[in-house]
C-alpha cells in the first residue's frame, strides 16, 4: 500500500526548474532511498514532501490524503517526522530538553522520562544529557536530531543525508538503527549519496537526475543498471 504518493510534481525557482514532473511512491513498511548526483533535485523534492516549499504543479498524498497545501507542522501531526540535512537542534537548550520538547505531546510523567532515557541511551547521549545541544559534536547533533525525529513515533521517517559528517563506524551504526526501526514497522525515506550506506539499508531505490526520475527499482536492479553508474561517474551530463 502506498504511504506517500508524489504525482507529477514540479518546482521552478524563477527560470530554474529544480524538479520536473516527478512521480514517486513510497510503500508502507519499506526503506526507500532517493539517490542521484549533486544538483539532481533530491533536496528540493525532499523539501516539497516535507512542506517547506509549495510545488509549482502536481500534488502530494500522504496515506491517501492530499497534503499539497498543508504546512509542515500539519504533515508532522499526520505521522511524518523529519531530519534535515544540516544538524538542526535547539542549540541553547539542554540535550534532554530537546528530546523532551519532541516527546511532550505524546507522553507525560514517568512514561515520558522513561522514553527520554531510552532514546538518550540508544544514541549514546545519556552522559551529556545536561549539556547544551550546541556543545555536542557534529555527529552527536545528527544523532540527537534523529532521536528527536524518532521521539514522535512517526509512521514515516524522512531523513535528508542523515550520515553527513559521520565517521564510517557512526554511519554503519546509524544504518543498523534505521533498519531496526523499520523492522518495528516504520516506513523510511532517505535522501543519500553515500552508496555504501544505501547498500546497507535500501530496499527500494529511486534515482533522480537533472530534476527527473532517471530510474527506479529494487536495490539489486539499480546497482546493476549501467546507466545509473554512468551518471554517477559523470559520463552523461544531459540528454
Amino acid at each position: 500500500m502506498a504511504l506517500v504518493e508524489v504525482k507529477g510534481v514540479s518546482k521552478r525557482f524563477g527560470g530554474l526548474t529544480a524538479v520536473s514532473g516527478v512521480d514517486l511512491t513510497v510503500n508502507a513498511g519499506e526503506i526507500h532511498c532517493l539517490i542521484g548526483p549533486n544538483g539532481a533535485g533530491k533536496s528540493t523534492l525532499f523539501k516539497l514532501i516535507v512542506g517547506l516549499y509549495p510545488p509549482t504543479e502536481g500534488s502530494i498524498l500522504f496515506d491517501t490524503v492530499d497534503i499539497t497545501k498543508e504546512r509542515p507542522y500539519a504533515r508532522v501531526q499526520r505521522g511524518m517526522s523529519i531530519k534535515m540535512q544540516a544538524p538542526s537542534v535547539f542549540k541553547e537548550l539542554p540535550v534532554r530538553q530537546n528530546i523532551q520538547t519532541a516527546l511532550q505531546e505524546r507522553l507525560s510523567g514517568a512514561e515520558r522520562i522513561a522514553e527520554e532515557d531510552r532514546l538518550l541511551t540508544l544514541f549514546n547521549l545519556a552522559p551529556d544529557s545536561d549539556k547544551l545541544a550546541g556543545a555536542l559534536s557534529h555527529g552527536q547533533q545528527q544523532w540527537l536530531e534523529i532521536g528527536m525525529a524518532l521521539a514522535l513515533k512517526p509512521q514515516l521517517l524522512l531523513l535528508d543525508e542523515p550520515t553527513a559528517g559521520m565517521s564510517p563506524e557512526e554511519t554503519f551504526k546509524t544504518g543498523e538503527l534505521i533498519k531496526s526501526f523499520n523492522a518495528e514497522g516504520m516506513t523510511v525515506l532517505v535522501v543519500e549519496h553515500d552508496m555504501a550506506f544505501v547498500r546497507q539499508v535500501a530496499q527500494r531505490v529511486t534515482v533522480l537526475h537533472l530534476g527527473k526520475i532517471f530510474a527506479r527499482g529494487d536495490l539489486e536492479s539499480i546497482l546493476q543498471d549501467e546507466k545509473v553508474a554512468e551518471i554517477y561517474l559523470g559520463k552523461t551530463h544531459a540528454h
Binding site: 516535507v50 517547506l52 504546512r71 509542515p72 507542522y73 500539519a74 508532522v76 501531526q77 517526522s81 523529519i82 534535515m84 538542526s88 537542534v89 535547539f90 542549540k91 541553547e92 537548550l93 539542554p94 534532554r96 530538553q97 523532551q100 520538547t101 519532541a102 511532550q104 505531546e105 522520562i113 544529557s129 545536561d130 528527536m148 514522535l152
Partner: protein
C-alpha cells in the same frame, strides 16, 4: 504542578532560593508598617511598571520577539480603564474596568500580532512595526484636545491627558495608599510565579524552542505561529495591566506615557536586567525604576540620558544583561566555595532537572 516553579528555563532553585524569596516578600509586606504613607504610595508607583517588564521579558527573552511597542498596550489599557471607569460610573465597576481594559489590550495585541506573525515578520521589523503603531497612537491621542473627542462623558483631552476617573474601588473603599501597595505586591507575586510555571511547562518548552529554531519546532508538529501569538498576547496583556493600574493610581493618563521616550523604557529595564530570566528582570527593573525616580525628582532629562547610556553600555559591555551577569557570578562563587564538600551541589542540580 508546583514543581513547574523550578526548571531549566528559570534561574533560582532549591531551599536557599525560596528562603530568600520569602524573606524579600516578608520585607515587602512589612514595609508599610515602618514607612509613611507618601513613601508607600511612591513604592506602589514603581511596582506598576514591573508587569510591563515581566511581559517583555517573556516575549523577548523567552520567545525571541523583541517588541518596541509595549507602551502601545500600556496606553490602550490605560486609556481604556479611564474611558470605562468614567462611563461605568466608578465604584466596584472600576474592577470590571480594570479587567476589561486588559482584555482590550490583549485583543489589540491579538490583531496586530496576527498580521505580523502570520505575515512572517520577525527580527528587527517586529520591533519597528510595533514602535510605529505605538507612535501613531501617541500622535493620535495628542491631537484629541478638542471637545469633539470624547467617548461618552470621557474627554480624551489631547496632550493634557484624560482625567476624572475613579481609582480602583470596592464598594465605598478606594484602593489607595497601603491597600493599593498590597494589591500590587500580591499581583506581582501571582504574575511572577505564574510566569515561572508557564515557561517551565510544555508550552514554555515550545516557546523557547521556537526562539532557538522555529523551523525545527514546526517540524516537531507545533504550529509555532500560535505559540508566538500566545506569547505576544500574554506579554502585551501584562503591559496593559501596568497601564490600567497606572491610570487608576494617578487618576490621569497622557499620550507622553505612550510615545518616545516612554516606549524605550521597558527595553532598557529588560536589557539591563537580563532578558533571559524572569527573576533578573524583576530585580533589575525594580532597581532601575527606583534609581530613575530618584533622579527624575531633580531632572527628568538627566534621568533619561542615564537610561540611554545604560542601554548603550549594556549592549556594548554585557549583552546578556548586568543583573543576570552579576547574579551568575555570585552563584558561581557560592558554588565554588561549596565545591570543597565534593560535587554534591552539581549532582543535586542534575537530579533536580531530571525530576522535573
Amino acid at each position: 504542578m508546583f514543581k513547574l516553579l523550578e526548571g531549566p528555563q528559570t534561574l533560582g532553585r532549591g531551599r536557599m532560593f525560596w528562603a530568600c524569596f520569602l524573606v524579600v516578600l516578608a520585607g515587602a509586606l512589612a514595609y508599610p508598617l515602618f514607612a509613611d504613607s507618601y513613601d508607600v504610595g511612591n513604592f506602589a508607583y514603581f511596582l506598576i511598571w514591573i508587569f510591563m517588564a515581566l511581559g517583555l521579558c517573556l516575549m523577548w527573552g523567552y520567545g525571541g520577539m523583541l517588541s518596541f511597542g509595549q507602551t502601545l498596550f500600556f496606553g490602550i489599557a490605560g486609556y481604556g480603564y479611564g474611558v470605562l471607569a468614567i462611563n461605568m460610573g466608578g465604584g466596584t465597576a472600576t474592577i470590571a474596568a480594570l479587567v476589561l481594559s486588559v482584555v482590550l489590550a490583549m485583543m489589540a495585541a491579538g490583531i496586530l500580532g496576527y498580521f505580523m506573525i502570520w505575515g512572517g515578520i520577525n527580527g528587527i521589523f517586529f520591533g519597528i512595526v510595533t514602535l510605529s503603531a505605538t507612535l501613531v497612537l501617541a500622535f493620535f491621542l495628542g491631537q484629541t484636545a478638542g471637545p469633539e473627542w470624547h467617548i461618552g462623558p470621557a474627554r480624551l483631552n489631547g496632550f493634557n491627558g484624560m482625567k476624572g476617573m475613579d481609582p480602583l474601588t470596592v464598594g465605598d473603599f478606594y484602593i489607595e495608599g497601603s491597600a493599593l501597595y498590597y494589591v500590587m505586591v500580591a499581583l506581582i507575586v501571582i504574575v511572577y510565579l505564574a510566569l515561572r510555571m508557564l515557561v517551565n511547562s510544555g508550552i514554555g518548552n515550545v516557546i523557547v524552542a521556537t526562539r532557538e529554531n522555529p523551523q525545527r519546532a514546526e517540524m516537531l508538529g507545533y504550529d509555532v505561529r500560535k505559540y508566538q501569538l500566545l506569547t505576544f498576547v500574554i506579554g502585551s496583556g501584562l503591559a496593559g495591566l501596568s497601564g490600567a493600574l497606572y491610570t487608576s493610581w494617578g487618576q490621569f493618563i497622557t499620550p507622553s506615557s505612550i510615545g518616545l521616550p516612554a516606549a524605550a523604557m521597558p527595553i532598557v529595564w529588560v536589557a539591563f536586567s537580563g532578558r533571559s530570566d524572569l527573576t533578573a528582570t524583576l530585580i533589575g527593573s525594580f532597581l532601575l525604576l527606583f534609581g530613575f525616580q530618584t533622579i527624575t525628582v531633580y531632572s527628568q532629562q538627566a534621568a533619561l540620558v542615564l537610561m540611554g547610556a545604560l542601554l548603550l553600555a549594556t549592549v556594548m559591555l554585557a549583552p546578556q544583561g548586568f543583573v543576570l551577569g552579576i547574579g551568575k557570578l555570585v552563584a558561581d562563587w557560592l558554588r565554588g566555595r561549596r565545591r570543597g564538600d565534593g560535587d554534591v551541589v552539581a549532582e543535586a542540580g542534575r537530579l533536580q532537572s531530571e525530576e522535573s
